[in-house]
Structures are given as structure tokens and as C-alpha cells.
Subunit: 128 residues, 2 copies
């Protein structure tokens, strides 16, 4: 697989999976999607730009909250349909709920319990 | 979001994203998919069972190679369309290429360089 056909955006209809991992704690912060344009923007800016599949638009992470993700390293997987973004998370929180990581619920028996770190109050950051 | 509607398999046509992370090194090993059946099987077995989108069948990771993933912890993200699998990787390698992690290529300028750990020779493990 050469540099030009990586990532392979055609494999899954134009999108690749993008996983954000904290560069220091190695915690997984979130997972979202990128298209070719957002991938290029991310490399140009040095900050993570996803593709929002709900709004169908470029999503420069942290534009609203200030919690941008500064790109430290970018990796691609063996079949080219996913990237791993090693980032510095500004504001210490990636999740729109104010949790540090979007993966703040852990399986416990037949259900889930919360096990995260509430960093900010979303009402204060995003307003009403 | 209650226990019964989590994960939300309906959100993206029956599949959720499943990220495997090593429980000790916190390295991201691979990313794949799960449907409701593979999610249930994973909980029952205590070993990771993905849904193969190329073969359209259950994929008990490590069935061929012996490199199973023993589930240590399972987390779900805020909107329920992704899970994080904290695993013990048997055989020390997750990737079918014999690399420890599928994310063995790192962005370097305009291209990619390999930066991984070759654990096994795929020709020996999978045969011809």
C-alpha cells in the first residue's frame, strides 16, 4: 500500500474511523469519523478535524468548547480504514458531556456504571 | 440511556465500532466491528468476538492464530455506537500481518514509515 492510497477512503463509502488517544495517559478519549477533506485539514492545521456524520460537515474539534486536540502523532491501520490520533487534549476533556473521555461507562454485570472524570459542566461551556 | 438500549446497534445499521486496547501497555491493538450477536457472545465467552464485515460472519478473534483477546473490561461511549475492549492479547500480536498492533504505520512527512513490532511470521501461523 503506497502513500497515495492511504488511508483508503473508498473502502467504507468515503469515511474512515478515527480514534483519539491521549499522548500522556494513553487513555482513549473518543472515536469519530474522517473523510479525505477532514484528514487533510487535520494534517494542515495540526489539530484534529473530524467529519460529523450527524451534521454532514467538517467538525474542527474544540471550536465551540475550546477543547481542541493538538495532533502529536498519526497512525494508520493495516487495511487503511482507520487512523489513530495521538493528541494533547486541551481543556482536559474530550466529551460533550464534560467527561474527560467519551468512554465513561463500564460494563458491570448486566448493566453499566459510570466510571469517568467530570471535567466541566456542559451547560456552562455550550450555553443553553 | 438505559442498560437495555446500550449499545445502540440501530444507530449505524446494526454495527458498532469496537476498539481493542492492551490492558497493560494501553496500546491500541486494532479496531473492528460488532453486531448485537457478537457483543453478546463476547460477554458470554469472556473473549472478543467481532463481526467480520468482509465475510459477514461472527469472527472469534484468534480462532485461527491462537491469538485470542481475553476481555478484562468493556466500556461504551456517550452515544452508544462504540465500545472499548480492554484485553489481554494472547500471543502478543493482534494483527494478521504478525505485527503486535494493526496501527504499525506512522505518518512521516507526506508518507508513512513502519514503526511496529513484528511478533510472528504470518506464513507460519496461517499457512499458505
Amino acid at each position: 500500500m503506497g502513500a497515495k492510497d492511504t488511508p483508503d477512503f473508498d473502502k467504507r463509502g468515503g469515511l474512515i474511523t478515527a480514534i483519539a488517544q491521549d499522548h500522556e495517559t494513553r487513555e482513549i478519549l473518543m472515536v469519530a469519523y474522517m473523510n479525505a477533506e477532514s484528514f487533510q485539514k487535520t494534517l494542515e492545521l495540526g489539530e484534529v478535524v473530524y467529519w460529523s456524520t450527524s451534521r454532514n460537515e467538517l467538525w474542527h474539534k474544540g471550536e465551540s468548547s475550546g477543547n481542541t486536540q493538538v495532533l502529536k502523532e498519526l497512525r494508520v491501520d493495516c487495511d487503511g480504514d482507520a487512523v489513530l490520533l495521538i493528541v494533547e487534549q486541551k481543556g482536559r476533556a474530550a466529551c460533550h458531556t464534560g467527561q474527560r473521555s467519551c468512554f465513561f461507562r463500564v460494563r458491570d454485570g448486566e448493566g453499566w456504571r459510570e466510571d469517568g472524570e467530570q471535567v466541566f459542566d456542559p451547560a456552562e461551556v455550550y450555553g443553553k
